[in-house]
């Protein structure tokens, strides 16, 4: 398959995603609303009582903004929504068979979902990150602001976290082919099961295989509960865990797409 066709197919998948209004609106709300609310509330607090509340911007609020987006909550939720939509879109609309009868390989049909989902997910996360930066600098007052390296690290962390979650969601959703089931399972895993497993210290090193723990390793800002229950690991281990999750879930999604009755 030529790169032209691969790009066309990814473009077609992107079209399907960006035109899916419900998913798009929810993803935008989940990405923008927390940031806007955070800066609006802290700016109002500062304006009403400057002695008690510091300026809403600056480096500390930048950290908070990155925590909101990449701190394994809102950013990953956006990634899950978009990834699941990409993984189940054709099957749930009943058009998967019409794509299969073109003669194009099923693996190519699966593969084109990933860049499309990443493109939309990252576009939304970037727009939310831009809001964080605007809040950080506009409301900084006399506080210090993050330097270029920290801004780039924050950006890299957000792209890594949401990109990995999005790709895993594409694979898992392609495996289940059910949008509600995939969303419920992934959100439950991300919001309930993962923190619970990590908090059970007696589980020891197997906790390192929880994806969110591996992703936290690359955060430029402190996340979660200040590391009280974190399963610390070396950079190589964290990278291995991330790659393992990607390989397993993308592999399962590809296998299901290749073998299922269309």
């Amino acid at each position: 398959m030529s790169t032209t066709i691969a790009a066309q197919m990814a473009g077609a998948d992107f079209l399907k995603l960006r035109k899916k209004r419900g998913t798009l609106i929810w993803a935008l709300v989940l990405a923008w609303a927390p940031v806007v609310i955070f800066y609006a509330v802290t700016a109002i607090q500062h304006a009403s009582n400057p002695g008690k509340y510091g300026p809403a911007g600056g480096t500390a609020s930048f950290h908070d903004g990155v925590r909101l987006l990449g701190g394994l909550l809102f950013g990953p939720l956006v990634a899950i929504l978009i990834g699941v939509e990409a993984g189940t879109n054709d099957a749930s609309a009943g058009v998967f068979r019409d794509l299969v009868v073109t003669g194009r390989s099923r693996l190519a049909l699966f593969a084109s979902r990933i860049p499309a989902a990443l493109a939309l997910c990252w576009a939304i996360i970037l727009s939310a990150y831009a809001l964080v930066l605007v809040g950080t600098f506009v409301f900084a007052g006399n506080l210090s602001t993050p330097d270029g390296a920290l801004i780039l690290n924050g950006l890299g962390f957000l792209l890594l976290t949401t990109g990995v979650m999005c790709a895993v969601a594409v694979g898992f959703a392609s495996l289940t082919t059910s949008k509600p089931a995939a969303i419920i399972a992934l959100i439950a895993w991300q919001l309930i099961a993962s923190p619970l497993i990590v908090s059970i210290e007696s589980l020891g090193s197997p906790r390192k295989f929880v994806l969110s723990q591996a992703l936290v390793h690359f955060s430029p800002v402190g996340l979660g509960d200040d590391g009280r229950h974190a399963a610390t690991m070396a950079g190589g281990t964290a990278l291995f865990v991330i790659v393992l999750w990607l390989v397993v879930f993308l592999g399962l999604g590809a296998w299901r797409t290749k073998t299922m009755d269309a």
Binding site: I5, R21, A93, V95, D98, V100, V101, G103, S105, L109
Partner: protein, 330 residues
């Protein structure tokens, strides 16, 4: 790796556009298709006729690689399937069961998605395909606002994106009103007669297949019971030219006809006479002249149209009785 879909396809010069040998599909203990040998010639509208549950959709799904055959072999456009599935399907358009689309996208956007999958040159065919099915004016409206007939037409437009040598349509007139059915029939005939395409139509509607198709296969309980040109099928394997003749004197007419080499068989009927010609339908005029020359007044001379429906019912009734006797023996 080069995908055969990406490269121009050299279609083997074969007279058969679909050919299956001993094609079998089992779902657990149930046999959906049982050793099907199907021969579909190029350049015709071919009906795949059978009652609901006979195995028609299963057959189509196997041809298109949507599900795997349990055993047997098949060739599509001369290419073995599934070995050369990509090459075969690059010039095939298909609607399986009902045409499905992303309802929140417009008709044109839905076609753009399939065009992207088929290849870069296909995008240019979107507008002509929409025009061909009469949807140019509604192409930029969301599919969820389309009627069933419009969706069927959009489905055909999607098929046309591949500039197909073969169109496979599964129950294409389901849910269409009489006007829509007539329109659809005319479109299929035009594709066959003016564009040289082959159209394979699966249907349980005898009348529809009879009116639209040049040839057909009758399938029942997973087996192809008979196949051939439409006239042959209706006549039970032989082409039979039968006439109803209304005369003033039936006895005299039978006497004249009895000595004529133009007639193979003749007998009295409610309408007057029923006559089977020895040769083609053109000899009816000679027979008329013979009768008139012998002083018999001919008031009516009408060819009998062999009914596919009668033949179909005859075959399925025979299968029913065979199955019943087998069950009794067992």
């Amino acid at each position: 790796m080069t995908n055969p879909v990406d490269t121009p396809v050299a279609t083997p010069a074969t007279e058969l556009i679909i050919e299956t040998n001993g094609l079998t599909k089992r779902f657990g203990a149930r046999t959906a298709l049982d050793g099907v040998d199907l021969r579909v010639p190029r350049g015709c509208a071919f009906g795949f006729l059978g009652p609901n549950g006979a195995g028609k959709t299963t057959m189509i799904r196997m041809l298109l690689g949507l599900t795997q055959a349990t055993s047997g072999s098949m060739r599509l456009l001369g290419h073995p399937v599934p070995a050369e599935r990509g090459a075969a399907l690059s010039r095939v358009g298909a609607i399986v069961e009902e045409p499905r689309f992303h309802p929140y996208l417009t008709g044109r956007e839905n076609l753009r998605i399939v065009a992207a999958v088929r290849g870069p040159e296909v995008r240019e065919r979107i507008d002509p395909a929409l025009a061909r099915v009469g949807l140019s004016d509604r192409a930029d409206q969301k599919v969820k606002s389309y009627s069933l007939g419009m969706r069927q037409r959009l489905g055909v437009a999607r098929c046309l994106l591949s500039d197909p040598l073969l169109l496979i349509l599964d129950e294409p007139t389901n849910g269409l009103d009489p006007g829509g059915i007539q329109e659809f029939r005319e479109m299929i005939r035009a594709m066959v007669e003016h564009e040289g395409r082959t159209v394979f139509i699966s249907s349980h509607l005898l009348d529809e297949v009879e009116k639209t198709c040049d040839a057909a296969a009758i399938v029942d309980r997973g087996k192809v019971v008979t196949q051939g040109a439409m006239a042959e099928l209706a006549a039970g394997g032989e082409v039979r030219h039968e006439l109803i003749i209304g005369v003033d004197d039936v006895d005299r007419a039978l006497q004249v006809i009895g000595t004529s080499a133009l007639v193979r068989d003749a007998h009295r009927s409610d309408e007057g006479l029923r006559v089977i010609l020895a040769d083609g339908p053109e000899t009816a005029a000679q027979l008329n002249a013979t009768l008139v020359g012998a002083g018999v007044a001919v008031m009516r001379l009408e060819p009998v149209r062999q009914s596919l429906e009668a033949r179909f019912l005859e075959i399925t009734a025979r299968l029913d009785s065979t199955t019943d006797s087998a069950e009794v023996r067992a």
